[in-house]
Protein backbone atom coordinates (compact mmCIF):
# COMPACT_ATOMS: atom_id res chain seq x y z
CA UNK A 1 0.00 0.00 0.00
CA UNK A 2 1.37 3.38 -0.98
CA UNK A 3 2.20 5.66 1.88
CA UNK A 4 0.13 8.86 2.11
CA UNK A 5 1.73 11.51 4.28
CA UNK A 6 -0.51 12.92 7.00
CA UNK A 7 0.57 16.50 7.19
CA UNK A 8 -1.65 18.12 9.76
CA UNK A 9 -4.50 16.98 12.02
CA UNK A 10 -7.95 18.46 12.40
CA UNK A 11 -11.36 18.64 10.79
CA UNK A 12 -11.64 22.41 10.51
CA UNK A 13 -11.30 24.27 7.21
CA UNK A 14 -8.08 25.80 8.55
CA UNK A 15 -6.71 22.30 9.22
CA UNK A 16 -7.65 21.24 5.69
CA UNK A 17 -6.00 24.36 4.21
CA UNK A 18 -2.86 23.72 6.23
CA UNK A 19 -2.71 20.18 4.83
CA UNK A 20 -3.17 21.56 1.33
CA UNK A 21 -0.34 24.05 1.72
CA UNK A 22 2.02 21.45 3.12
CA UNK A 23 1.22 18.87 0.48
CA UNK A 24 1.66 21.34 -2.37
CA UNK A 25 -1.68 20.25 -3.80
CA UNK A 26 -2.76 23.83 -4.40
CA UNK A 27 -5.33 25.48 -6.56
CA UNK A 28 -3.99 27.81 -9.24
CA UNK A 29 -5.95 31.05 -9.14
CA UNK A 30 -4.09 33.34 -11.50
CA UNK A 31 -1.32 33.33 -14.08
CA UNK A 32 1.18 36.11 -13.60
CA UNK A 33 3.70 36.20 -16.47
CA UNK A 34 7.15 34.98 -15.56
CA UNK A 35 8.73 38.27 -16.68
CA UNK A 36 6.51 40.16 -14.23
CA UNK A 37 7.47 37.89 -11.32
CA UNK A 38 11.15 38.43 -12.21
CA UNK A 39 10.63 42.20 -12.34
CA UNK A 40 8.90 42.26 -8.92
CA UNK A 41 11.71 40.18 -7.42
CA UNK A 42 14.19 42.71 -8.80
CA UNK A 43 17.32 40.57 -8.86
CA UNK A 44 17.82 40.65 -12.63
CA UNK A 45 16.18 42.38 -15.59
CA UNK A 46 13.54 40.16 -17.23
CA UNK A 47 15.09 38.41 -20.21
CA UNK A 48 18.67 39.03 -19.09
CA UNK A 49 21.14 36.18 -18.72
CA UNK A 50 21.52 34.54 -15.35
CA UNK A 51 24.76 35.67 -13.70
CA UNK A 52 26.63 32.70 -12.26
CA UNK A 53 28.90 32.08 -9.30
CA UNK A 54 30.53 28.96 -10.70
CA UNK A 55 30.73 27.15 -14.07
CA UNK A 56 28.00 24.61 -14.87
CA UNK A 57 28.45 21.44 -12.83
CA UNK A 58 29.00 19.33 -15.94
CA UNK A 59 32.05 21.41 -16.84
CA UNK A 60 33.46 21.42 -13.33
CA UNK A 61 34.41 17.78 -13.08
CA UNK A 62 32.87 16.82 -9.77
CA UNK A 63 34.57 14.34 -7.45
CA UNK A 64 33.39 10.76 -7.40
CA UNK A 65 30.72 10.88 -4.70
CA UNK A 66 27.78 8.50 -4.23
CA UNK A 67 25.53 11.29 -2.92
CA UNK A 68 26.20 13.47 -5.94
CA UNK A 69 25.36 10.51 -8.15
CA UNK A 70 22.17 9.91 -6.21
CA UNK A 71 20.86 13.48 -6.03
CA UNK A 72 20.08 15.23 -9.27
CA UNK A 73 21.00 18.92 -9.06
CA UNK A 74 18.26 21.51 -9.52
CA UNK A 75 18.40 23.47 -12.81
CA UNK A 76 19.80 26.50 -10.96
CA UNK A 77 22.52 24.48 -9.23
CA UNK A 78 23.42 22.66 -12.45
CA UNK A 79 23.88 26.00 -14.24
CA UNK A 80 25.82 27.61 -11.36
CA UNK A 81 23.32 30.40 -10.63
CA UNK A 82 23.62 32.88 -7.79
CA UNK A 83 21.56 32.32 -4.64
CA UNK A 84 18.70 34.82 -4.50
CA UNK A 85 15.59 35.28 -2.37
CA UNK A 86 11.95 36.22 -2.35
CA UNK A 87 10.23 37.33 0.81
CA UNK A 88 6.52 37.66 1.54
CA UNK A 89 4.58 39.45 4.26
CA UNK A 90 1.13 38.11 5.14
CA UNK A 91 -1.49 40.09 6.96
CA UNK A 92 -2.93 38.62 10.12
CA UNK A 93 -6.32 39.65 8.72
CA UNK A 94 -7.03 36.24 7.18
CA UNK A 95 -4.14 36.04 4.73
CA UNK A 96 -4.29 32.64 3.02
CA UNK A 97 -0.82 31.62 4.11
CA UNK A 98 1.34 32.44 7.09
CA UNK A 99 5.10 32.27 7.55
CA UNK A 100 5.20 28.76 9.03
CA UNK A 101 3.05 27.32 6.27
CA UNK A 102 5.07 29.03 3.58
CA UNK A 103 8.14 27.42 5.13
CA UNK A 104 6.50 24.00 5.37
CA UNK A 105 5.45 24.34 1.74
CA UNK A 106 8.99 25.27 0.68
CA UNK A 107 10.75 22.68 2.82
CA UNK A 108 8.49 19.85 1.64
CA UNK A 109 7.89 20.80 -1.99
CA UNK A 110 10.88 22.81 -3.21
CA UNK A 111 14.26 21.22 -3.85
CA UNK A 112 17.39 23.18 -2.99
CA UNK A 113 15.47 25.87 -1.09
CA UNK A 114 16.29 27.42 2.26
CA UNK A 115 13.13 28.76 3.90
CA UNK A 116 13.39 31.18 6.80
CA UNK A 117 10.47 31.85 9.10
CA UNK A 118 10.06 35.11 10.96
CA UNK A 119 7.11 36.45 12.90
CA UNK A 120 5.46 38.43 10.14
CA UNK A 121 7.39 37.55 7.02
CA UNK A 122 8.93 34.58 5.35
CA UNK A 123 11.93 34.34 3.09
CA UNK A 124 12.96 31.56 0.73
CA UNK A 125 16.46 31.42 -0.69
CA UNK A 126 17.47 29.26 -3.63
CA UNK A 127 19.43 29.35 -6.87
CA UNK A 128 18.11 32.15 -9.08
CA UNK A 129 16.15 30.22 -11.70
CA UNK A 130 14.79 27.89 -9.01
CA UNK A 131 13.57 30.70 -6.75
CA UNK A 132 11.93 32.39 -9.74
CA UNK A 133 9.97 29.22 -10.47
CA UNK A 134 9.03 28.76 -6.80
CA UNK A 135 7.97 32.40 -6.47
CA UNK A 136 5.78 32.16 -9.55
CA UNK A 137 4.12 29.07 -8.08
CA UNK A 138 3.51 30.96 -4.83
CA UNK A 139 2.06 34.01 -6.54
CA UNK A 140 -0.17 32.02 -8.87
CA UNK A 141 -1.57 29.70 -6.23
CA UNK A 142 -4.14 30.06 -3.49
CA UNK A 143 -1.31 30.68 -1.00
CA UNK A 144 -1.36 34.30 -2.13
CA UNK A 145 -4.06 36.92 -1.98
CA UNK A 146 -2.89 40.04 -3.74
CA UNK A 147 -4.25 42.45 -1.11
CA UNK A 148 -3.30 40.64 2.10
CA UNK A 149 0.05 39.21 0.95
CA UNK A 150 2.81 41.15 -0.64
CA UNK A 151 6.38 40.56 -1.74
CA UNK A 152 8.58 42.70 0.49
CA UNK A 153 12.33 42.33 0.50
CA UNK A 154 12.87 45.09 3.05
CA UNK A 155 10.74 47.35 5.27
CA UNK A 156 8.41 44.45 5.67
CA UNK A 157 6.05 45.43 8.45
CA UNK A 158 2.34 45.30 7.81
CA UNK A 159 1.58 41.80 9.09
CA UNK A 160 0.19 42.84 12.45
CA UNK A 161 -1.06 46.31 11.53
CA UNK A 162 -4.59 47.30 10.73
CA UNK A 163 -5.57 47.32 7.07
CA UNK A 164 -5.90 50.40 4.94
CA UNK A 165 -9.36 51.74 4.18
CA UNK A 166 -9.49 49.92 0.85
CA UNK A 167 -8.65 46.56 2.44
CA UNK A 168 -4.99 46.48 1.42
CA UNK A 169 -2.25 45.59 3.89
CA UNK A 170 -0.34 48.71 4.96
CA UNK A 171 2.97 49.15 3.17
CA UNK A 172 5.41 51.80 4.28
CA UNK A 173 7.10 51.86 0.87
CA UNK A 174 3.83 51.89 -1.13
CA UNK A 175 4.86 49.01 -3.38
CA UNK A 176 1.33 47.98 -4.30
CA UNK A 177 -1.80 49.95 -5.06
CA UNK A 178 -5.43 49.19 -5.67
CA UNK A 179 -6.40 50.46 -9.11
CA UNK A 180 -9.72 52.03 -10.03
CA UNK A 181 -10.55 48.85 -11.95
CA UNK A 182 -10.38 46.80 -8.73
CA UNK A 183 -7.08 45.14 -9.63
CA UNK A 184 -3.96 45.31 -7.49
CA UNK A 185 -0.83 46.68 -9.15
CA UNK A 186 2.80 46.40 -8.14
CA UNK A 187 4.38 49.78 -8.83
CA UNK A 188 7.71 48.97 -7.17
CA UNK A 189 9.79 45.86 -6.84
CA UNK A 190 10.21 44.05 -3.55
CA UNK A 191 12.85 46.47 -2.25
CA UNK A 192 10.96 49.65 -3.21
CA UNK A 193 12.63 50.53 -6.53
CA UNK A 194 10.01 51.80 -9.02
CA UNK A 195 9.14 49.45 -11.87
CA UNK A 196 9.16 50.53 -15.52
CA UNK A 197 5.49 49.65 -15.81
CA UNK A 198 2.76 48.79 -13.34
CA UNK A 199 2.25 45.06 -12.97
CA UNK A 200 -1.32 43.85 -12.70
CA UNK A 201 -1.60 40.88 -10.32
CA UNK A 202 -5.38 40.59 -10.37
CA UNK A 203 -8.28 41.18 -8.07
CA UNK A 204 -8.16 40.63 -4.32
CA UNK A 205 -10.29 37.94 -2.67
CA UNK A 206 -13.48 38.82 -0.88
CA UNK A 207 -13.61 38.65 2.92
CA UNK A 208 -15.64 35.41 2.78
CA UNK A 209 -13.20 33.84 0.36
CA UNK A 210 -10.26 34.80 2.58
CA UNK A 211 -11.93 33.29 5.63
CA UNK A 212 -12.51 30.12 3.65
CA UNK A 213 -8.91 29.86 2.42
CA UNK A 214 -6.96 31.10 5.43
CA UNK A 215 -4.51 29.01 7.44
CA UNK A 216 -4.86 31.32 10.45
CA UNK A 217 -6.87 30.21 13.45
CA UNK A 218 -8.72 33.22 14.83
CA UNK A 219 -11.45 33.58 17.40
CA UNK A 220 -13.56 35.55 14.89
CA UNK A 221 -13.37 32.86 12.22
CA UNK A 222 -12.28 29.31 13.06
CA UNK A 223 -10.88 28.70 16.54
CA UNK A 224 -7.98 26.38 17.18
CA UNK A 225 -10.27 24.16 19.24
CA UNK A 226 -12.83 23.89 16.45
CA UNK A 227 -16.50 24.58 17.07
CA UNK A 228 -16.97 26.77 20.13
CA UNK A 229 -19.00 24.98 22.80
CA UNK A 230 -18.50 21.50 21.35
CA UNK A 231 -18.00 18.58 23.76
CA UNK A 232 -14.59 17.82 22.34
CA UNK A 233 -11.80 20.01 20.99
CA UNK A 234 -10.77 19.62 17.38
CA UNK A 235 -8.06 17.03 16.75
CA UNK A 236 -5.54 19.79 15.92
CA UNK A 237 -5.68 21.16 19.44
CA UNK A 238 -5.69 17.67 20.96
CA UNK A 239 -2.56 16.83 18.97
CA UNK A 240 -0.91 20.07 20.03
CA UNK A 241 -1.66 19.34 23.70
CA UNK A 242 -0.30 15.84 23.25
CA UNK A 243 2.94 17.11 21.72
CA UNK A 244 3.28 19.78 24.37
CA UNK A 245 2.86 17.18 27.09
CA UNK A 246 5.39 14.82 25.57
CA UNK A 247 7.91 17.55 25.02
CA UNK A 248 7.47 19.15 28.42
CA UNK A 249 7.57 15.96 30.44
CA UNK A 250 10.08 13.86 28.57
CA UNK A 251 11.47 15.80 25.63
CA UNK A 252 9.73 15.31 22.31
CA UNK A 253 10.90 12.10 20.65
CA UNK A 254 8.47 11.11 17.93
CA UNK A 255 9.39 7.47 17.48
Amino acid sequence: MAYTPQYYPGNTSVGANRRKHMSGNLEKLRDIPEADVVAIMGHRAPGADYPSTHPPLKEMGEPDCPIRQLVEPTPGAAAGDRVRYSQFTDSMYFAPSIPYWRSYWAAINCRGADPGTLSGRQIIEARERDIEAYTKKLMDSEMTDVARCSMRGCTVHGHSLRLEENGMMFDMLARTELGADGNVYYVKNQVGIPLDKKINVGKPMSEEELKKRTTIFRYDNISYGGKVGARKFDEALEALHHMWELRTKWGFRPE
Binding site: G153, L161, R162, E165, M172, G192
Partner: protein, 170 residues
Protein backbone atom coordinates in the same frame (compact mmCIF):
# COMPACT_ATOMS: atom_id res chain seq x y z
CA UNK B 1 -6.53 71.22 53.21
CA UNK B 2 -9.15 69.84 50.92
CA UNK B 3 -10.65 72.03 48.27
CA UNK B 4 -14.13 71.03 47.27
CA UNK B 5 -14.96 71.87 43.69
CA UNK B 6 -18.39 72.99 42.69
CA UNK B 7 -20.56 70.51 40.80
CA UNK B 8 -20.88 72.75 37.77
CA UNK B 9 -17.13 72.98 37.10
CA UNK B 10 -16.13 70.21 34.67
CA UNK B 11 -12.80 68.43 34.64
CA UNK B 12 -10.86 67.95 31.38
CA UNK B 13 -11.18 64.43 30.01
CA UNK B 14 -8.87 62.54 27.71
CA UNK B 15 -10.08 60.14 25.03
CA UNK B 16 -8.57 58.00 22.34
CA UNK B 17 -10.29 57.31 19.03
CA UNK B 18 -9.20 54.00 17.60
CA UNK B 19 -10.59 53.26 14.11
CA UNK B 20 -10.62 49.67 12.89
CA UNK B 21 -8.69 50.68 9.76
CA UNK B 22 -5.93 53.16 8.96
CA UNK B 23 -7.31 56.43 7.66
CA UNK B 24 -6.61 57.84 4.22
CA UNK B 25 -5.68 61.55 4.08
CA UNK B 26 -9.22 62.39 2.85
CA UNK B 27 -10.92 60.59 5.74
CA UNK B 28 -8.39 62.08 8.16
CA UNK B 29 -9.25 65.59 6.99
CA UNK B 30 -12.96 64.86 7.23
CA UNK B 31 -12.65 63.41 10.73
CA UNK B 32 -10.37 66.15 12.05
CA UNK B 33 -12.71 68.84 10.76
CA UNK B 34 -15.73 67.12 12.30
CA UNK B 35 -13.87 66.86 15.60
CA UNK B 36 -12.78 70.47 15.37
CA UNK B 37 -16.34 71.59 14.71
CA UNK B 38 -17.71 69.58 17.62
CA UNK B 39 -15.72 71.89 19.92
CA UNK B 40 -14.25 71.62 23.40
CA UNK B 41 -10.85 70.36 22.25
CA UNK B 42 -7.89 71.48 24.32
CA UNK B 43 -5.29 69.47 22.46
CA UNK B 44 -5.12 66.67 19.97
CA UNK B 45 -2.52 64.17 18.86
CA UNK B 46 -2.59 61.96 15.80
CA UNK B 47 -0.46 58.86 15.74
CA UNK B 48 0.32 55.97 13.41
CA UNK B 49 3.12 54.31 11.48
CA UNK B 50 5.61 56.61 9.85
CA UNK B 51 5.31 57.48 6.16
CA UNK B 52 8.93 57.97 5.12
CA UNK B 53 9.76 60.37 2.27
CA UNK B 54 12.53 58.10 1.02
CA UNK B 55 13.32 54.39 1.11
CA UNK B 56 15.18 53.99 4.38
CA UNK B 57 16.79 50.61 3.98
CA UNK B 58 18.04 48.14 1.37
CA UNK B 59 19.28 48.46 -2.21
CA UNK B 60 16.78 51.23 -2.94
CA UNK B 61 17.91 53.37 0.02
CA UNK B 62 17.44 57.08 -0.62
CA UNK B 63 14.93 56.75 -3.47
CA UNK B 64 11.98 59.11 -3.06
CA UNK B 65 8.55 57.73 -2.17
CA UNK B 66 6.32 60.05 -4.17
CA UNK B 67 3.13 58.58 -2.71
CA UNK B 68 4.01 60.00 0.71
CA UNK B 69 4.79 63.56 -0.39
CA UNK B 70 2.39 66.45 -0.11
CA UNK B 71 -0.21 64.63 1.95
CA UNK B 72 -1.91 67.79 3.09
CA UNK B 73 -4.89 68.12 5.38
CA UNK B 74 -6.65 71.36 6.19
CA UNK B 75 -7.95 71.73 9.71
CA UNK B 76 -9.34 74.90 11.22
CA UNK B 77 -7.94 77.01 8.38
CA UNK B 78 -4.44 75.64 8.84
CA UNK B 79 -2.79 73.32 6.31
CA UNK B 80 -0.77 70.52 7.86
CA UNK B 81 1.42 67.93 6.21
CA UNK B 82 0.68 64.36 7.24
CA UNK B 83 3.77 62.39 8.14
CA UNK B 84 2.06 59.33 9.58
CA UNK B 85 -0.63 56.92 8.49
CA UNK B 86 -3.33 57.92 10.92
CA UNK B 87 -4.35 55.05 13.17
CA UNK B 88 -5.10 56.69 16.50
CA UNK B 89 -6.29 60.11 17.63
CA UNK B 90 -5.93 61.26 21.21
CA UNK B 91 -7.83 64.24 22.48
CA UNK B 92 -8.11 66.27 25.61
CA UNK B 93 -11.54 67.80 25.99
CA UNK B 94 -12.58 70.66 28.20
CA UNK B 95 -15.18 68.51 29.88
CA UNK B 96 -17.30 65.43 29.78
CA UNK B 97 -20.16 67.25 28.10
CA UNK B 98 -18.21 67.23 24.80
CA UNK B 99 -18.01 63.43 24.63
CA UNK B 100 -21.30 62.87 22.75
CA UNK B 101 -20.13 65.40 20.13
CA UNK B 102 -16.93 63.40 19.58
CA UNK B 103 -18.91 60.19 19.18
CA UNK B 104 -21.24 61.85 16.68
CA UNK B 105 -18.31 63.36 14.74
CA UNK B 106 -16.71 59.93 14.40
CA UNK B 107 -19.97 58.39 13.25
CA UNK B 108 -20.32 61.05 10.58
CA UNK B 109 -16.74 60.86 9.31
CA UNK B 110 -15.76 57.20 9.57
CA UNK B 111 -17.27 54.65 7.20
CA UNK B 112 -16.13 51.74 9.42
CA UNK B 113 -16.20 50.81 13.10
CA UNK B 114 -14.16 52.56 15.76
CA UNK B 115 -13.61 52.56 19.51
CA UNK B 116 -13.53 55.54 21.82
CA UNK B 117 -11.64 54.91 25.03
CA UNK B 118 -11.44 57.18 28.02
CA UNK B 119 -8.22 57.24 29.95
CA UNK B 120 -5.10 59.17 30.68
CA UNK B 121 -3.02 59.57 27.55
CA UNK B 122 -0.93 62.71 28.06
CA UNK B 123 1.64 63.10 30.81
CA UNK B 124 1.56 66.03 33.22
CA UNK B 125 5.08 65.91 34.57
CA UNK B 126 8.01 67.06 32.48
CA UNK B 127 10.55 64.34 31.69
CA UNK B 128 14.28 64.95 31.22
CA UNK B 129 13.73 64.92 27.43
CA UNK B 130 10.96 67.51 27.80
CA UNK B 131 13.22 69.64 29.97
CA UNK B 132 16.02 69.45 27.40
CA UNK B 133 13.63 70.26 24.60
CA UNK B 134 11.24 72.83 25.99
CA UNK B 135 13.14 74.27 28.97
CA UNK B 136 12.11 74.79 32.55
CA UNK B 137 8.89 76.71 32.07
CA UNK B 138 7.35 74.69 29.27
CA UNK B 139 3.66 74.98 28.48
CA UNK B 140 2.17 71.89 30.10
CA UNK B 141 -0.21 71.40 27.19
CA UNK B 142 2.74 70.52 24.95
CA UNK B 143 3.84 67.61 27.14
CA UNK B 144 3.26 64.21 25.58
CA UNK B 145 2.09 65.59 22.25
CA UNK B 146 5.09 64.83 20.07
CA UNK B 147 7.71 62.15 19.87
CA UNK B 148 10.81 63.05 21.90
CA UNK B 149 12.95 62.91 18.75
CA UNK B 150 10.55 64.89 16.55
CA UNK B 151 11.09 68.54 15.79
CA UNK B 152 8.56 70.68 17.56
CA UNK B 153 8.24 73.11 14.64
CA UNK B 154 7.25 70.47 12.12
CA UNK B 155 5.31 68.16 14.42
CA UNK B 156 3.19 70.67 16.29
CA UNK B 157 0.61 73.13 15.04
CA UNK B 158 -1.22 75.71 17.07
CA UNK B 159 -4.67 76.15 15.59
CA UNK B 160 -5.91 78.85 17.91
CA UNK B 161 -3.98 81.34 19.99
CA UNK B 162 -6.78 81.90 22.44
CA UNK B 163 -5.71 80.54 25.80
CA UNK B 164 -9.02 78.92 26.51
CA UNK B 165 -9.36 77.46 23.04
CA UNK B 166 -5.87 76.36 22.17
CA UNK B 167 -5.66 73.38 19.86
CA UNK B 168 -2.54 71.61 18.88
CA UNK B 169 -1.91 68.81 16.54
CA UNK B 170 0.78 66.53 15.41
Amino acid sequence: MVTIKSDTESEPVQVEIFPSRFLSPETTQKLLNELYKSGGIVRMMIQGPNLPRTVTYGPGKGLPIEEHRNLLVEVGGEVLELRVKVGRIRLELEGEEFLPGIQAACERALPFSFQIKRGKFFREISTISDYAKYGKDADKRILGLVDPRAKKESALAVLSEKDSDKKEER
